[in-house]
Amino acid sequence: MSKLIEVSYFAIFREKAGRDSEAFKTKSETVLDLFKEIKKVHGFDEPQGHCKVAMNNDLVQWDAKIEDGDKVLFFPPVSGG
Protein backbone atom coordinates (compact mmCIF):
# COMPACT_ATOMS: atom_id res chain seq x y z
CA MET A 1 0.00 0.00 0.00
CA SER A 2 1.35 3.36 -1.01
CA LYS A 3 1.72 6.03 1.71
CA LEU A 4 2.32 9.73 1.48
CA ILE A 5 5.06 10.83 3.89
CA GLU A 6 6.15 14.41 4.58
CA VAL A 7 9.94 14.25 4.56
CA SER A 8 12.20 17.05 5.87
CA TYR A 9 15.89 17.55 5.18
CA PHE A 10 18.56 19.42 7.15
CA ALA A 11 22.00 20.88 6.46
CA ILE A 12 23.82 18.94 3.73
CA PHE A 13 20.74 16.78 3.05
CA ARG A 14 18.75 19.94 2.38
CA GLU A 15 21.45 21.25 0.06
CA LYS A 16 21.72 17.96 -1.83
CA ALA A 17 17.96 17.55 -2.10
CA GLY A 18 17.58 21.21 -3.09
CA ARG A 19 14.61 21.59 -0.77
CA ASP A 20 13.60 21.74 2.93
CA SER A 21 10.91 19.13 2.63
CA GLU A 22 8.73 17.24 0.20
CA ALA A 23 5.78 14.90 0.08
CA PHE A 24 7.19 11.48 -0.75
CA LYS A 25 5.08 8.58 -2.01
CA THR A 26 6.48 5.25 -0.82
CA LYS A 27 5.73 1.60 -0.19
CA SER A 28 8.50 1.41 2.47
CA GLU A 29 7.52 -0.07 5.81
CA THR A 30 10.25 1.47 8.01
CA VAL A 31 12.13 4.75 8.14
CA LEU A 32 15.27 2.83 7.16
CA ASP A 33 13.70 1.56 3.94
CA LEU A 34 12.42 5.05 3.21
CA PHE A 35 15.90 6.47 3.84
CA LYS A 36 17.44 3.96 1.40
CA GLU A 37 14.96 5.05 -1.30
CA ILE A 38 15.64 8.71 -0.67
CA LYS A 39 19.45 8.27 -0.63
CA LYS A 40 19.24 7.03 -4.21
CA VAL A 41 16.88 9.79 -5.35
CA HIS A 42 18.96 12.65 -3.90
CA GLY A 43 22.44 11.10 -3.89
CA PHE A 44 23.02 11.16 -0.11
CA ASP A 45 26.22 9.24 0.67
CA GLU A 46 26.66 9.99 4.38
CA PRO A 47 27.12 6.78 6.41
CA GLN A 48 23.67 5.85 7.76
CA GLY A 49 25.17 4.85 11.13
CA HIS A 50 26.00 8.50 11.76
CA CYS A 51 22.68 9.86 10.51
CA LYS A 52 19.57 10.18 12.68
CA VAL A 53 15.88 10.07 12.02
CA ALA A 54 12.90 11.60 13.79
CA MET A 55 9.23 10.94 13.33
CA ASN A 56 6.56 13.44 14.37
CA ASN A 57 9.25 15.39 16.28
CA ASP A 58 10.75 12.53 18.27
CA LEU A 59 14.00 10.75 17.53
CA VAL A 60 13.21 7.16 16.57
CA GLN A 61 15.11 3.96 15.79
CA TRP A 62 15.73 3.03 12.17
CA ASP A 63 13.23 0.15 12.39
CA ALA A 64 10.34 2.48 13.27
CA LYS A 65 7.27 1.80 11.12
CA ILE A 66 5.87 4.58 8.95
CA GLU A 67 2.20 5.29 8.36
CA ASP A 68 0.45 7.42 5.79
CA GLY A 69 0.66 11.08 6.83
CA ASP A 70 3.74 10.72 9.09
CA LYS A 71 6.28 13.53 9.20
CA VAL A 72 9.79 12.09 8.91
CA LEU A 73 12.96 14.17 9.50
CA PHE A 74 16.33 13.01 8.21
CA PHE A 75 19.40 14.39 10.00
CA PRO A 76 22.86 14.09 8.44
CA PRO A 77 25.85 13.53 10.79
CA VAL A 78 25.73 16.27 13.42
CA SER A 79 28.54 18.68 14.27
CA GLY A 80 27.39 20.86 17.14
CA GLY A 81 29.61 22.37 19.80
Partner: protein
Protein backbone atom coordinates in the same frame (compact mmCIF):
# COMPACT_ATOMS: atom_id res chain seq x y z
CA UNK B 1 18.82 23.55 27.55
CA UNK B 2 18.59 26.70 25.49
CA UNK B 3 19.26 27.61 21.88
CA UNK B 4 19.94 31.26 21.13
CA UNK B 5 20.97 33.33 18.13
CA UNK B 6 22.41 36.02 20.45
CA UNK B 7 25.65 36.18 22.43
CA UNK B 8 25.63 33.70 25.33
CA UNK B 9 25.59 35.65 28.62
CA UNK B 10 27.87 33.37 30.58
CA UNK B 11 28.02 35.26 33.88
CA UNK B 12 24.23 35.37 33.97
CA UNK B 13 23.91 31.69 33.06
CA UNK B 14 26.42 30.56 35.69
CA UNK B 15 24.68 32.65 38.36
CA UNK B 16 21.62 30.47 37.79
CA UNK B 17 23.58 27.46 39.04
CA UNK B 18 24.78 29.00 42.30
CA UNK B 19 23.39 27.89 45.58
CA UNK B 20 24.56 27.79 49.15
CA UNK B 21 25.15 24.07 49.30
CA UNK B 22 27.28 23.87 46.12
CA UNK B 23 31.02 23.94 46.64
CA UNK B 24 32.13 23.28 43.08
CA UNK B 25 31.31 24.70 39.68
CA UNK B 26 32.81 23.47 36.41
CA UNK B 27 32.09 25.04 33.06
CA UNK B 28 32.98 24.36 29.45
CA UNK B 29 32.95 26.90 26.64
CA UNK B 30 33.46 26.05 22.98
CA UNK B 31 34.96 28.98 21.09
CA UNK B 32 35.08 29.50 17.33
CA UNK B 33 38.65 28.88 16.17
CA UNK B 34 40.25 30.61 13.22
CA UNK B 35 41.27 27.32 11.65
CA UNK B 36 40.03 23.75 11.19
CA UNK B 37 41.75 20.88 9.45
CA UNK B 38 44.31 23.20 7.86
CA UNK B 39 41.85 25.78 6.51
CA UNK B 40 41.54 29.37 7.70
CA UNK B 41 38.03 29.92 8.98
CA UNK B 42 36.50 33.40 8.69
CA UNK B 43 33.13 32.75 10.24
CA UNK B 44 30.74 29.97 10.97
CA UNK B 45 27.07 29.14 10.83
CA UNK B 46 25.11 26.77 13.02
CA UNK B 47 21.90 25.24 11.78
CA UNK B 48 19.83 23.90 14.68
CA UNK B 49 16.61 21.93 14.61
CA UNK B 50 15.34 23.42 17.81
CA UNK B 51 12.41 21.20 18.87
CA UNK B 52 14.59 18.10 19.05
CA UNK B 53 17.81 19.90 20.07
CA UNK B 54 16.06 21.19 23.20
CA UNK B 55 14.31 17.91 23.99
CA UNK B 56 17.52 15.89 23.54
CA UNK B 57 19.56 18.45 25.49
CA UNK B 58 17.14 18.11 28.42
CA UNK B 59 17.47 14.32 28.18
CA UNK B 60 21.26 14.61 28.40
CA UNK B 61 21.06 16.88 31.46
CA UNK B 62 18.64 14.46 33.14
CA UNK B 63 21.00 11.57 32.40
CA UNK B 64 23.91 13.55 33.89
CA UNK B 65 21.90 14.18 37.07
CA UNK B 66 21.25 10.45 37.40
CA UNK B 67 24.84 9.37 36.67
CA UNK B 68 26.63 11.98 38.81
CA UNK B 69 26.12 13.59 42.20
CA UNK B 70 25.44 17.14 41.00
CA UNK B 71 23.04 19.94 41.93
CA UNK B 72 22.42 21.89 38.74
CA UNK B 73 23.45 21.62 35.11
CA UNK B 74 22.69 23.77 32.14
CA UNK B 75 23.66 24.13 28.48
CA UNK B 76 23.27 26.93 25.94
CA UNK B 77 24.07 26.50 22.24
CA UNK B 78 24.23 29.20 19.60
CA UNK B 79 22.44 29.15 16.25
CA UNK B 80 23.07 31.27 13.18
CA UNK B 81 26.20 33.16 12.18
CA UNK B 82 29.18 33.45 14.54
CA UNK B 83 32.53 35.20 14.31
CA UNK B 84 35.95 33.91 15.32
CA UNK B 85 36.39 33.93 19.11
CA UNK B 86 32.67 33.82 19.91
CA UNK B 87 31.32 31.26 22.34
CA UNK B 88 29.31 28.63 20.44
CA UNK B 89 28.33 26.46 23.38
CA UNK B 90 28.41 26.74 27.16
CA UNK B 91 27.90 23.99 29.76
CA UNK B 92 27.84 24.69 33.50
CA UNK B 93 27.53 22.22 36.37
CA UNK B 94 27.42 22.79 40.13
CA UNK B 95 27.89 20.12 42.79
CA UNK B 96 29.04 19.55 46.35
CA UNK B 97 32.34 18.03 45.28
CA UNK B 98 34.42 18.82 42.24
CA UNK B 99 34.96 15.32 40.82
CA UNK B 100 31.30 14.92 39.89
CA UNK B 101 31.11 18.43 38.45
CA UNK B 102 34.09 17.72 36.16
CA UNK B 103 32.74 14.37 35.03
CA UNK B 104 29.20 15.61 34.48
CA UNK B 105 30.37 18.66 32.54
CA UNK B 106 32.51 16.49 30.25
CA UNK B 107 29.66 14.00 29.83
CA UNK B 108 27.20 16.72 28.85
CA UNK B 109 29.40 18.39 26.23
CA UNK B 110 30.43 15.01 24.76
CA UNK B 111 26.78 13.96 24.42
CA UNK B 112 25.61 17.36 23.17
CA UNK B 113 28.16 17.20 20.36
CA UNK B 114 27.03 13.69 19.38
CA UNK B 115 23.31 13.78 19.82
CA UNK B 116 21.85 17.23 19.16
CA UNK B 117 20.59 17.99 15.64
CA UNK B 118 23.06 20.83 15.08
CA UNK B 119 25.22 21.31 12.00
CA UNK B 120 28.20 23.59 11.57
CA UNK B 121 29.05 25.22 8.27
CA UNK B 122 32.42 26.90 7.95
CA UNK B 123 33.17 29.81 5.65
CA UNK B 124 36.85 29.89 4.70
CA UNK B 125 39.13 32.78 3.83
CA UNK B 126 39.47 31.52 0.26
CA UNK B 127 35.71 31.94 -0.26
CA UNK B 128 34.84 28.24 0.04
CA UNK B 129 32.43 26.89 2.60
CA UNK B 130 31.60 23.46 3.84
CA UNK B 131 29.60 21.43 6.35
CA UNK B 132 31.88 20.12 9.04
CA UNK B 133 32.09 16.40 9.62
CA UNK B 134 31.11 15.24 13.06
CA UNK B 135 33.99 14.28 15.33
CA UNK B 136 33.01 10.63 15.40
CA UNK B 137 32.66 10.38 11.61
CA UNK B 138 36.00 12.10 11.13
CA UNK B 139 37.71 9.46 13.23
CA UNK B 140 36.30 6.59 11.13
Amino acid sequence: MKITDKEIKIAQASNGLRNKRSGAYVSFEGWIRDHNEGQNVRRLEYEVYEPIAIKEGENIIDEAKKKFDIHHASCIHRSGLLDIGECAVWVGVSSSHRKDAFEACKFIIDEVKCRLPIWKKEYYENGDSGWVNCETCASN
